[in-house]
């Protein structure tokens, strides 16, 4: 079992819900990322989703698109992201890191090469947004043989038949994208999420995390009533954008925000 599965299991057995935080590696500049990852953990984050910058982030809303652009202005590559993961791992051997990004940088690095390098950097899972399980048979096998858990997505439009297949392919957890739309779009309809979760929970043996649209403490609290954890991305990235010219303030504000989220879900 990978570090990601272990951590989520131990949370569940302690009756705790997971707080998953997303930042883009290298946003607003490369030096910020690793210290901020530690700060997230200090303030109660259980799993870090590290966004890999891509020139064409199709599924992202404007907030996260701009974060990708800020990181790319510093030429942050997939290789750089793995270096950041490795640096973080030197001081923290317990917090799972899930890389989240798009297929082309991984395809360019080569699946095998990527899996070996990611494993040795201490990466524990992947979410490749534009890689549904049907297209990922080769990738999943290579990742799993390197102890990296591939996480797949469920959407409001996913049929039961597909959901069964996705929950089977996913490892660690299943990520429920709670909105039709891009990251950070719209407002959460908790009744709708609750309905969908009831359906998906019957199909999944894995914990289900809910993301896209979780913006604040009350939102996160509502989500964990019906799910195993909440993913917060755009709200953190937006805060970072607001304070990108004052890095100390950026770190303080993000730390403060995350500790509020933690308090809200516990």
């Amino acid at each position: 079992m990978g570090m990601l599965s272990e951590r989520l299991k131990s949370l569940a057995s302690n009756n705790k819900k997971a707080l998953v935080a997303y930042i883009v590696a290298g946003d607003p500049e490369p030096g910020v990322t690793v210290p901020l990852m530690h700060r997230l953990v200090e303030n109660g984050v259980d799993v870090i989703e590290l966004g890999v910058p891509f020139s064409d982030p199709e599924a992202e809303g404007p907030v996260i698109q701009l974060a990708h652009e800020r990181a790319l202005a510093h030429n942050v590559s997939l290789g750089n992201c793995l270096e950041m993961a490795a640096e973080f791992r030197q001081a923290d051997q317990v917090t799972p890191i899930v890389l989240m990004g798009y297929l082309n940088p991984v395809e360019t690095m080569g699946y095998e090469n990527f899996a070996v390098k990611a494993a040795s950097a201490g990466v524990n899972g992947t979410i490749i947004v534009n890689l549904p399980p049907e297209e990922a048979v080769d990738m999943s096998a290579i990742l799993e043989s390197n102890d990296i858990e591939p996480v797949y997505l469920l959407a409001p439009t996913t049929t039961d038949e597909r959901a069964r297949m996705i929950c089977q392919a996913s490892k660690g957890f299943v990520y429920y994208v709670s909105l039709k739309g891009t990251t950070g779009a719209g407002n959460l309809d908790i009744n709708d999420v609750s309905e969908k979760m009831e359906r998906f929970k019957k199909l999944s043996e894995l914990p289900i995390m809910v993301g896209f649209g979780v913006k604040d403490g009350p939102g996160a609290r509502a989500i964990v009533q019906v799910a195993d954890g909440a993913v917060v991305g755009s709200a953190i990235v937006k805060l970072m954008a607001e304070h990108k010219d004052d890095l100390k303030k950026l770190s303080d504000e993000v730390g403060q925000f995350v500790s509020e989220l933690r308090a809200a879900i516990d």
């Binding site: 940088p105 549904p132 959407a155």
Partner: protein
Amino acid sequence: MSNLDGNNESLFAYPDESGHFGQFGGKFVSETLMAALQDLESEYYRLRQDITFQEELQRDLSEYVGRASPLYFAKRLTTQAGGAKIYLKREDLNHTGAHKINNCIGQALLAKYMGKPRVIAETGAGQHGVASATVAARFGLECQVYMGSEDIKRQSLNVYRMKLLGAEVVPVHSGSKTLKDALNEAMRDWVTNVDDTHYIIGTVAGPHPYPMLVRNFQAIIGEETKRQFAEQHGGLPNAVVACVGGGSNAMGIFYPFLEDREVRLIGVEAAGYGLASGRHAAPLNEGAVGVLHGNRTYLMGDANGQIVETHSISAGLDYPGVGPEHAFLKDVRRAEYVAVDDTEALDAFRALNKLEGILPALESSHAVAYGLKLASKMDPDESIVINLSGRGDKDIPTVAKLDGISID
């Protein structure tokens, strides 16, 4: 019939059930879109057999678009080249001035039969946007067109034209602010509004079933060409030449000839400032295999897998990817892909004006440029067909500016 790799499968057997052309194509999209793609696929298969749908499509193609488009023997161009006989397939004479309308009519009808009141489209030069806005007006559909803010600056005529047609043009400020970013933004819109919206992709790219259905709507170009050539000349042409950006006009004219192995199929990419300059839009010549906009294909990317900015004098060819079936046809060596630079395309643009009284789009001028070179090396008893995919009215300001003339 066996192809050059010794595979006995007919080339008409592609894509396979999962939407792949060999290793290319597929459905590389976020989960939110999977259900919409499956719906589109099953609706398309159903409507393909539906007599009412087919009759409506045929009627619109003939009475609204003006098909069949002529196949024209270009006598003076032939004399100039001094070799094979050159025929032009006149897609420039279609309503709205390019082949784009063939696909847009088909997809707007799909939207209508699927009960979707709203369509969206991406556009680079504006031709596909204009064609989409046109059919939306024709069928009474709401229409939004995504266009990079850089392209909006370069193509003000088409932007205004879309507005006249009742469409809303939405500027895209992200990334390189060009066609690829417009495509990203249209996908984002579709993810959000998938219940009431059909996305009219303008080329043979995107996730399955788009490369297949756009090809099938464009295949009428090749079907007519085959019939017209047999009537006018007899037999089959020795070669068919078409420009390739995303590749829809090329796929449309190539497809009916795929199993006529004696016919050379030649796609012409944009070499921009020259292949050696790195500033071009020729992924089949210089790119690498990757994944973008829902499919695996040849792409212009850097060493880290980021998509790079492309250059071509013709905005319609200025795209870093190419339809997956072209990638496949390249790898199985059924089609050849060459590249023509900005200067050669401009020379051909001028030559066709002066020799035949035809104003070609800069996109199509790439095909004309290569066709002239090719014909000059062939025998007079041989023939080639060049797909003249669009007319060049939209390009007059660009060319005039190069001549130092302002016509604003």
